[in-house]
Amino acid sequence: MSKIVEMPRASCVLGGLNAVLTSLQNVSPIYHSGPGCCMQTTAGVSGQAGLRGSSFLASVSLPCSNMLEREVVFGGEQKLRDEIDGSLEIIDADAYFVLTGCTAGIIGDDVAAVTAEYRNKGLPVYPIETPGFAGDTLLGYETAFDSFIEYIAESQPRQANLVNLLGVVPQHDPYWFGTLEELTRILNKLGLEVNSFFTQRQGIETVKRSGSAALNIIVSPWLLKGAASKYEEKFGIPSIRFNGVPYGATQTAEFIRGVGEALDLDKTLVESVIEEENIYVYGLFETIIGALSWKKFVVAADAATAISITRFLADDFSFTPVAVIITEPIWSSSDKDRITKALSSLEYAKPPIISFLVDHYDIRQEIKKHDFTLLIGSSLEDEVARELGVQLNRLAFPISDQLIINRTYAGYRGCLTLVEDLYNNL
């Protein structure tokens, strides 16, 4: 179910699928869709998540059947076969996924049957039948992992020190690349090998190996419930869920301890990693004491970012939370409860006023109700920040006026970058 929305903060299912597939190395989406979907879903996802895209295939280089009136009327399956043949002939990919655009989805082209013809010949061509209109980028992200589990992940002997790191949506979370790198760095220190899927040039081999991991680590309060239970059912892989990407010393220590417990890691090792990183972070915090003036803040962001930034600013930086607006659609009441609880359980500060609003007009009106000095949001909040004369830091999708390559606010090193960016000389 989708609601009417002003200035949407996500693309469609194809946007999420495109983001996942093109962030893997050497994987080719093949759009079976109308002629604008490749560009729309690239502009609408990576184009508003710090602007860095895929190096492999993006926007107008994505293979696409470009369905026109003829296909809409007479069916587009033959056009799709031609497109797949051409892709196999010239695109040097390890796997090809056929995506179903609105046109193909509405007229009912049988993408599963067409792709099966190729798999029967031993060619790695897979269908994703969930059409563009079925939901948003986040559903696309979940659908991609459902397909990976169905078609690609392999049942191999359990590798005790291998973990799957999930819940950071590539090309949607503007800081995805740096975040995955920082979390990988931390997990490596615990002696773990990490399937981050989207860094270190990981690709289809990683997706295959994800079936032999010892643990799924999900850094989102609600994403990938379906994939988590499928990994459990099919491969016996348990999952541990955190409410967001850990920001700063407190959350990252919880993250490390959580993973340590789930995998029964040596406690001395776990504590020594935390201690070493804390010494590094607080050694540097010592050098900037008093550099930032006190701020009262409002957050408008997706749930994971909102929880992490609110806890960091309140618990680790002694700023005052005023209000938090969760700007992605959260449908289930248990998810809402989990998010509300996470935002309300602050160490020292009074809990912020929490609302769940997806529509940009509603979000703007809610922001204007509060008295505060720092706004954590997206590029869309620029207008209201100018109007109110408050500082804006862009942490959440969409970010369309800042170039982000590998910076991150996650973990230990990221929280220092965050504090640098919060500094305001005006």
């Binding site: 179910m1 989708s2 609601k3 009417i4 929305v5 002003e6 200035m7 949407p8 693309s11 469609c12 194809l14 946007g15 050497n26 080719s28 759009y31 109308g34 002629p35 604008g36 979907c37 490749c38 560009m39 729309q40 879903t41 502009a43 609408g44 184009g47 190096s55 492999f56 926007s59 107008v60 280089s61 994505l62 470009n66 369905m67 026109l68 296909e71 809409v72 031609d82 497109e83 043949d85 051409g86 010239i90 695109i91 040097d92 990919a93 655009g101 609105c102 989805g105 509405i106 059409p131 563009g132 209109f133 079925a134 007009y361 869309l380 620029d382 207008e383 109007e387 969409p398 369309s400």
Partner: protein
Amino acid sequence: MPRDYSGIRESRPNTFTDLGGQSEEITEGFNKVCLKAADRTFSQGLQCQQINSISALLSLGSSAFVVHSPQGCAGCLSMFSDMYRVGQAHRGVSLIKSPRVIVTNLDTNDVIHGGEGKLVEAIKLASDRYNPEIIFVFTSCASGIIGDDVDAIVLEQQAKYDSILVPVHCDGFKSKICASGFDAAFIAIQNYLLPKEPQVKQKGLVNLFAPVSISYKDQLEIERMLGLLGVEVNYIPFYSSLSKIRRITSAEASTSICKVFADEFMKTLDEDYGIPFAHTVMPIGVRNTDKWFLGIAELLGKGDLAREYIEKERARVLPQLASIRERLQGKRVFICGGTGRSFAAAALIDDFGMELVGLETPTYDLDAQIDVEYLNGIHGDYVIDVANMQPFEQVNLVNRLKPDVFIGVPSWSARFGIPTTHVLDPKRATMGYDGILFLGNKIAEQVSNPGFNKKLSQYARLPYKKSWYEQDAFQFIKGVGE
């Protein structure tokens, strides 16, 4: 509306979208009417017409917009909302606004039961929230295929609102040529916003139609030049308003600064309202700037004034071009761009004595034929790829032709290590006589300082198989029915 044009560009006679070969063979084929309608059996993503429709209208600040589509079809807002915001910044606005865009967010349920209820609700939201002068409603592939009757809804809802409701029919699957979306926007303006009767003409008022990719600096320069002819400019549609749109029909003449922007609309204005127009070229490069300026000046009976100015500007600019020319003379160029920019770039390189080896442009028609024949006269035979991007063909050709410089979107050719540059710079001044100097210096600097691309090329990867570079770049272009 007496003039009957569907807005679908490929419906115009002798318009080709899938074509490749040597330029002399193509011009000959076109003249003998033996070019065949073709299609690519393998292709990469195009730009749909909805993207162009949205881009054409989004900076109408006193309007609101309803996109009647699933959420993904609003993805292009990232580009045009940015342009609109930067455009405001350049115009000195401090409280920079976002465009007011409401997406109906069609989903599975709507695909089955119809999305008309959501459209009615979205129009109401747009009106309640912003009470705009105009509410534009953009259609999409999904709304078109499920058969939502957008015109009927608009007709029925109009009575409730002060805002004028304007449907823009830009379903992506209806056209392969994204510029059709510009036509869809102008057809909507024509049907819903223009006064039906011819108006009293205002002497000296000229409609200047310009696409979103024209920077504010370029707007100022073009307006300044037209000011020399004693003209008042009605700049449409960017940063304009309902009152400016309504003045369109009072103008003495029209002109455009892009070959595929408002060209059909200007014909309509001519036929229905008796407003003559000058449809020439994009004023980039000396020859094109001359040609563009003379075109509108002659129409207004001020050719002599224009020639005098052109003489003066040539005397000022040409000596400065000489040093740029020294640096660029004889360099072999591959050009890829939209219809306006690709030919503008091809004309521009003449100013610098460069040699054309390859040209990629989205459509081929009589207009293109005239340009290509002219270019053949200067450069002889070269490769033409009629393609809306299709980077797989581009890299094949660039790899084979090994040009000294690539002009166009650099994402792919840069990886070969050759210098890349572009004549499209929507945030800076590129037009008119001073624009030539900016572009000339930019090209010369980028050609003589190719370090980034050269170093990048040692590590950069392209997604194509090695065998592809040995194959015919045009092998996937097949005659329809073959």
